[in-house]
Symmetry: none
Subunit: 293 residues, 2 copies
């Protein structure tokens, strides 16, 4: 009578097919897992503004004998692992852990965590200063690095809407390279083997005497050559066939945050304006009831 799957998974999967009241209470449950494991059914019902009996019915709808069964499952699912009571395990241990877990996913995730340790925060800070003082900022990245470029472009635009552009935004052939001017900053991301477009972008940036910020896997990368700022990330980390971009993503996020901090009150104001505009256009839906997360 008690399913063995994780109760929250079970609940999440069943949620759409549940009648309105059960659905409502189910949503509350997913968002208040901890209270469900600790408080009483009636207490929960009061907090959720629902009828106590609904919780019993929800538990039974999920295949449990009753609310007590569901709660026991929630408790056991959340019980802390006695072997590793503290979360700050040394990341160096991960390599050993990986050997026990045959999955490639586990190995990649572990390698990513290691790769983030090697990033240079100081270099990010100084690059952020250059980015901040540039008249316009161009963001370039191609093939898999396009995701990195898009993220940086997106975050910068939140508080610098008019002076940031994505290189090649209209397609791979439209490279904007002729528009580079002295005083602009150009951010190029890439790793071996280097795409032709990224190298051309870096060359054009240098030719136009822009401030060139290069994110790459090695200082010997073509786009790093002659770059004013070089931020290194480890793309080859991990056992997967595909290189890892977590390092690059972490770099551009740190870069954007540092640039924002330099932007001061003006940046904050623009960010608020952007947020307000998005909210006005109903781009966002409200999160789960209550907690907002």
């Amino acid at each position: 009578m008690a399913p063995d799957a994780p109760p929250l998974d079970l609940l999440r999967r069943a949620l759409p097919d549940l009648p309105p009241r059960l659905h409502e209470v189910g949503q509350f449950l997913v968002g208040h897992e901890f209270d469900a494991a600790t408080r009483s059914m009636r207490g929960l019902a009061a907090a959720a503004g629902a009828n106590p009996a609904t919780f019993t019915r929800l538990a039974q709808a999920l295949g449990y004998a009753g609310w007590d069964d569901l709660r026991d499952a929630l408790i056991e699912a959340r019980r802390p692992d006695p072997a590793t009571p503290f979360s700050d395990r040394v990341r160096r241990d991960r390599a050993d852990v990986v050997q026990d877990q045959p999955g490639i996913a586990a190995a990649m995730l572990a390698a990513d965590a290691v790769g983030l340790d090697r990033l240079d925060a100081t270099a990010v800070e100084t690059a952020a200063v250059a980015l901040h003082s540039a008249e316009r900022a161009w963001i370039a990245g191609f093939r898999s690095c396009r995701s990195v470029a898009e993220l940086l472009h997106y975050q910068l635009r939140l508080f610098r809407p008019d002076t940031v552009r994505l290189v090649g935004g209209s397609g791979p052939e439209d490279l904007d390279l002729g528009a580079f001017r002295q005083g602009d900053a150009v951010v190029v991301t890439g790793f071996a083997p280097y795409s032709r477009a990224s190298v051309m972008t870096a060359q054009a940036a240098r030719a136009a005497r822009c401030t060139l910020i290069a994110l790459a896997d090695t200082p010997a990368a073509p786009m790093a050559e002659g770059a004013d700022h070089f931020l290194r990330f480890d793309a080859a980390a991990g056992p997967g066939f595909f290189p890892s971009l977590t390092g690059a993503i972490a770099l551009v996020q740190a870069l954007a945050s540092a640039a924002f901090a330099l932007g001061g009150q003006q940046a904050l104001t623009r960010l608020r304006e952007t947020e307000a505009r998005l909210a006005a256009h109903s781009q966002y839906v409200s999160g789960p009831k209550g907690i907002q997360s």
Copy 2:
């Protein structure tokens, strides 16, 4: 009647002066904090081999009104801090606080590394199986999550060129939602506040009986509701103004690698073909064997 100090500290300090039975039960309590917060007093007494009344007496000896008071304190002390959403963070952290934090880049990078530890490799593996066995795969992500979606889309296309598509590839209004069919898999990434498009995509996927794989910051996220697979990442990690996507990036990379591993020889062959095609078009300028940049 209820002390405000952490209950476990209180208990530990009072422990030596307690009479034998209380001392015994008190020791049990510090070693079974979790059970104390979840199970009933009588249940605890049975587990500890003690008299139920002893727990009431212990609570009162510590200055609490009764066992319920002590347990409530234990519960609150152990309650996980709720993830602070993006906009709240902006509102809370005033400009003057964050303005001139010289180490914001370093702090973000450190937080990212910690966030990667929490990812669930097993869930990624099972999601990869679902993705692998799907006829077609749709990848969705909007606003800042578009970068995540694009990366997954890119990597999957390397070895699955004809059966992967990016939702809304032609613009925000072109959502492809009507094209979902049973047997397809839909991957949606999002975090609070959730973009309308992402929620609509998830709903359409469920309506079409697709396999829904949701990547989000909490199981209570709208797109996680009814999802067949849920992969959690921590978007609020770090001190930055912007949420972090490193966790999501790490997840999709692991997902792509795991799906590739499942694809076996056929996937490998297709990947080689794609590489050869790119090389033939001179997309790359140099570099060792690898995939792309």
